[in-house]
């Protein structure tokens, strides 16, 4: 990313999907480029006014390249903070690519790097880091829940819990400073007691937040269902059953060779990636170590893990262990197939005589709904900070019991602050003093 810092040229990229034929594709240009630079290539007349959609021909000399709708956003009132042009062109990828090539050459543009538009918005302070994270969440997540968390961030809403934490942290710093600087005015014991109380409330807030910070938040952003098991254990059959379609072509997902195949299923509006780990075998099959490693990783990052096996296995690391028969074709009664289910959901469902497909799908969506019940914090950076904070505040809790040196305690609180700063913004010494004077009767 740092490479972008010294680049202030104009960039171009297609903003809509460019892999399929669609009615319209949007090409976006951002940078110092002025509207006049585009005029020679347009049939419309000057001036190009900001925030007005203009229907015009795109011209290469006198030849019409395409008929487009052009919208000009004048910087800084644009997404990136620079001049932005959005060209809605006809969506054939060949057409789109031809136009991009043409404009790149004629207007001396550069192809945008991945994320560069957002990056410029960040650099020009059009979006905060929190908002960028929100945007990323909206663009990449598979569920309503994640999208609304992303939208909250994008709209600039600071998580109300963070505001509370900031207040509690400020209060903690203040009480520490009161102990150090103003005990004489307030009385030693009174000062110490308010410090202890303030740390208690800070700690409680962190603990509450920690409960909402799953260890691996990525798992909830794009939840994956992984079917795991030896060859011929019935994975592909289950895969097809859940997708409710027969895969005629088994297409490998891009980036991997034939390690796994995947498709998307939607359960109650939440998109899951269903992965059939086709190529994964156990170690005695002597496949490459890298492959095993890969499958393990896949399993680690999975939201819902299903093991298919012909043996009687009990394995708590799976959400569902399905004992399959050799003729795992048409489904018999549920209990014939499912030998072990982890967690309370499964047990409930087992009692009802649900049909098999529904049972599996409900297990998955129920687990998902439970996981998002307490509105988990899934932005990885926030999540990581919260987990770290939790550890530090626990250590601090132990330190308070043995260490009476307030310089040390305050230094430790300062270290927490350095971390918190990434979540809640800077807490300045003046903020602390303001808080002291607002809350305590200080001074001689």
């Amino acid at each position: 990313m740092t490479d972008y810092f010294d680049k202030f040229d104009s960039i171009i990229a297609v903003s809509t999907g460019n892999y399929f034929k669609s009615a319209i594709s949007v090409i976006r240009i951002s940078g110092p480029i002025e509207p006049d630079a585009l005029l020679p290539y347009l049939s419309c007349s000057a001036p190009i006014e900001p925030r007005k959609a203009i229907f015009t021909k795109l011209l290469n000399n006198n030849e019409t390249l395409d008929e487009i709708v052009l919208t000009y956003f004048k910087g800084p009132s644009s997404f990136t903070g620079e001049n932005v042009f959005e060209l809605s062109v006809h969506g054939n990828p060949i057409n789109v690519n031809r136009i991009i090539d043409f404009l790149t050459k004629e207007l001396n543009l550069r192809s945008a790097e991945a994320g560069e538009f957002s990056y410029r918005a960040l650099r020009n302070k059009k979006l905060s880091l929190n908002q960028i994270e929100g945007l990323d969440l909206i663009l990449s997540s598979n569920s309503d829940f994640a999208i609304s968390q992303g939208l909250n961030l994008l709209s600039g809403d600071v998580n109300s819990d963070y505001t509370e934490i900031k207040k509690a942290y400020l209060y903690l710093c203040s009480t520490l400073e009161v102990v150090i600087n103003f005990s004489e005015d307030l009385g030693e014991k009174e000062a110490f007691d308010i410090f202890k109380d303030s740390f208690e409330s800070f700690k409680n807030l962190i603990e509450k937040l920690k409960e909402r910070a799953p260890i691996e938040p990525e798992i909830l952003i794009k939840p994956k269902i992984v079917l795991y098991g030896k060859p011929n254990s019935g994975k592909s059959t289950l895969f097809n059953r859940l997708l409710k379609k027969k895969r005629s072509i088994v297409s490998s997902t891009e980036g991997t060779t034939r390690d796994y195949i995947a498709d998307t299923i939607s359960i109650k509006g939440v998109s899951f990636e269903l992965i059939d780990t086709a190529g994964i075998r156990s170690t005695e099959d002597e496949i490459e170590e890298a492959g095993i490693e890969f499958s393990k990783n896949l399993l680690d990052k999975a939201f819902f893990k299903i093991l298919l096996t012909k043996d009687d296995i009990k394995d708590d690391s799976f959400d569902l262990v399905i004992k399959t028969h050799s003729d795992f074709g048409p489904m018999g009664p549920l209990e014939d197939h499912v030998s072990r289910i982890n967690g309370p959901i499964g047990a409930n469902l087992l009692e009802k005589n649900t049909d098999f497909d529904n049972f599996v799908l409900s297990s998955i969506i129920n687990k998902f709904e439970m996981s998002i019940e307490n509105n988990p914090i899934i932005i990885p950076r926030h999540n990581k900070i919260i987990n770290e904070l939790y550890n530090i505040s626990n250590n601090f809790n132990n330190l308070v019991d043995i260490e009476s040196d307030f310089a040390i305690l305050s230094s430790e609180v300062g270290s927490m602050g350095a971390l918190l700063e990434e979540l809640i913004g800077q807490v300045k010494s003046d903020d602390v003093l303001d808080n002291i004077f607002a809350n305590f009767c200080i001074g001689k």
Binding site: F5, D6, F8, R123, N124, K125, C173, E177, V179, I180, N181, F182, S183, E184, D185, G187, I402, E403, S404, D405, F406, A407, I408, S410, S411, E412, G414, S415, A418, L419, E421, S429, V432, L433, F437, C441, I442, G443, K444
Partner: protein
């Protein structure tokens, strides 16, 4: 001819330090001050030091200043504040005999041959090439001018409905700065400070008060002094306000200049008048009052905690409700003073005004409060002006290793809407900026002053001893037997670890007093060091790990903060708004942190500067 290298106007704590340090550069110096105001007088609380301020007093002492010596020469009660809360936040405070302090201050300045004391009132100042200072009687010329005029600029006193022109109760004021010096901008905000009534000793019932004796363990301020007190010691006393006190003040709210609109100036929230306390914290009735002697031979006691500008009658009334003060006679009534302050963002790291080269401001006129803060600024202004005149690069104290550095940087990067006082929380490095290591922190700066007297020789010895002791702590192991002789419980803890134990390991144990243990060990080993070296070495070891840890957490932020930035490049940048440039031009930030601290600087400006694309 009345020609000087440096003229200092104002003989308070800032002025005294400024002319005193300038004299060490063999410059010809004049101190011009009002006849009616004693040199080095303490018009408010009778004490030097305190939390954060004790550190400053010692820093001044190590830099060749007078404050430490004067405080010891007049010290009548020493206290170690925060004694139980860790060495890094400990500070020394001494109650002073005010008269003696002022007498010694004037004597010290008088004895210096290259300082002339001129007791005249300044009427106006001109600048052509040099400064021309015109008093009622004479004209004086100087290359550098240091203004340390305290609360005297347009000073106005308030006591109930009565108001007087003046900087203090018993002296006249100065004209407004605009009248004296036509092309200087003052801030359009006035500051206010106040002082409590003084009570006669014979009218106080000490048997009802809680006595606080002088602490013999407290270490004298001047580094070359041993730990004997110079004069007799007195006690201070503690008492409290009560509901009756509060009621009287509440009933007379309308008579308080602070609350009826008569005073417009902004007071410091950390130094509230008793009226402030009552109206802002109505639920609290027992406010602390420290009853402090103003000297050995004076009959005056200073009741710290009840500064007031209420009418005399009300002061009489409420003070008599206080335990032990029922029969008290007030000899001087409390009052508030309002005064002009200058905009310190125009000043550089030597407190020199950017628009009038050679003109420095120091002390309360810069909107600070406290004798120590004033003295620290006077010292810096004096050093800067002197070094420039002597053709040397002036030194700049960093906020990383001194409280004076913290204060100067805070002052010149921002204006405040209340008087500035040093709190230890203003420093980012509280664990390393301590009283005990003050001499080591300041040595590198002092060396650059080339004073080269016995103080410097002593500093060299202390530095060598410290390095030697640090090594000794890291490399010397202690036997379990030896530890158990010191503390059996401690030995048990270490026994479990089954590894070689070094002195440093023990100094870091939370329950161990590091100074006490290192004293024990050096005695055991029959090696002798200066008590200061043992303290500093032991305390430094205790904090070593925490300082490193803190550094790791803050390194990322500080790395950017410490980044030097190019002023001209910013002012010519097309990526920085006009408004931001105005602010930058005024404050002239040198590091990214300075820039960040400027009020109203835009995030976008910070972003382009941080990324280096301005």
């Amino acid at each position: 001819m009345n020609m000087y290298d440096i003229i200092v106007i104002g003989g308070g704590h800032a002025g005294v330090e400024a002319c005193h340090i300038a004299s060490k550069f063999k410059l010809k110096v004049a101190l011009i001050t009002l006849e009616s105001v004693p040199i080095g007088s303490a018009p408010c609380n009778p004490s030097i030091g305190g939390i954060g301020k004790g550190q400053v007093a010692r820093e001044i002492d190590c830099m060749g200043g007078l404050m430490g010596k004067l405080a010891d020469s007049a010290g009548i009660q020493y206290r170690i504040l925060n004694e139980s809360k860790g060495y890094a936040v400990q500070s020394t405070r001494v109650q002073i005999d005010k008269d003696l302090y002022a007498i010694n201050a004037e004597e010290s300045i008088k004895l210096i041959p290259n300082i002339d004391i001129i007791k005249e009132k300044v009427i106006s100042i001109d600048k052509v090439n040099d400064f021309k200072v015109i008093t009622e009687k004479n004209e004086y010329i100087s290359k550098k001018l240091i203004l340390t005029v305290g609360t005297f600029l347009n000073g106005k006193l308030h006591m109930g409905k009565e108001t007087f022109e003046g900087g203090r109760i018993d002296s006249e004021n100065s004209e407004g700065l605009e009248d004296i010096f036509s092309n200087i901008k003052i801030r359009n905000i006035r500051f206010k400070t106040g002082t409590p009534p003084r009570i006669l000793k014979r009218s106080i019932d000490f048997s009802k008060l809680i006595e606080q004796k002088s602490d013999p363990k407290a270490i004298n301020f001047h580094l070359l002094n041993d730990n004997q007190r110079k004069i007799d010691q007195l006690s201070c006393y503690l008492t409290h306000t009560n509901q009756k006190t509060i009621d009287i003040i509440s009933e007379n709210k309308e008579l308080s200049p602070m609350y009826n609109g008569q005073i417009e100036g902004t007071g410091a929230r950390y130094c509230p008048s008793i009226e402030d306390k009552v109206f802002r914290y109505p639920e609290k009735s027992n406010h602390h009052i420290f009853v402090e002697p103003e000297g050995l031979n004076t009959d005056l006691y200073y009741p710290s905690g009840i500064s007031s500008s209420l009418p005399k009658k009300i002061q009489d009334e409420f003070i008599k409700t206080i335990n032990g003060l029922e029969n008290s006679e007030i000899s001087k009534y409390g009052y508030a003073v309002e005064y002009d302050v200058i905009d310190t963002t125009y000043l550089n790291s030597g407190l020199e005004h950017s628009e009038i080269p050679g003109l420095h401001f120091a002390g309360q006129v810069n909107g600070t409060s406290g004798y120590e803060e004033a003295a620290g600024q006077g010292l810096i202004a004096g050093i800067y002006a002197s070094m420039v005149l002597s053709g040397q690069d002036p030194i700049k104290l960093s906020r990383e290793d001194s409280y004076i550095g913290v204060m100067i940087q805070d002052l010149i990067t921002n204006t405040r809407d209340e008087p500035y006082r040093l709190f230890t929380s203003r420093s980012e490095n509280r664990l390393s900026i301590r009283e005990d290591n003050c001499h080591l922190r300041m040595k590198k700066y002092r060396d650059l002053l080339n004073i080269n007297d016995e103080f410097d020789e002593y500093l060299n010895i202390l530095e060598d001893e410290f390095l030697c002791l640090s090594k000794f702590c890291d490399e010397t192991s202690v036997s379990l037997d030896n530890i158990s002789k010191y503390n059996d419980e401690l030995a048990k803890v270490f026994k479990k670890l089954e590894k070689k134990i070094f002195i440093s390991d023990i100094l870091k144990v939370p329950t161990v007093d590091p100074v006490d243990f290192l004293n024990y060990i050096t005695n055991q080993c029959k090696i002798s060091f200066n008590f200061r070296s043992i303290r500093t070495a032991a305390i430094s070891k205790k904090y070593e790990g925490y300082i490193k840890k803190h550094d790791v957490y803050t390194r990322k932020i500080q790395k950017v903060d410490r980044m030097n930035i190019d002023l001209n490049k910013m002012l010519n940048s097309s990526n920085i708004s006009f408004e931001c440039k105005q602010r930058i031009k005024k404050s002239r930030p040198e590091t990214f942190k300075d820039l960040k601290n400027i009020n109203g600087i835009r995030q976008a400006t910070l972003a382009v500067v941080a990324s280096g694309v301005y």
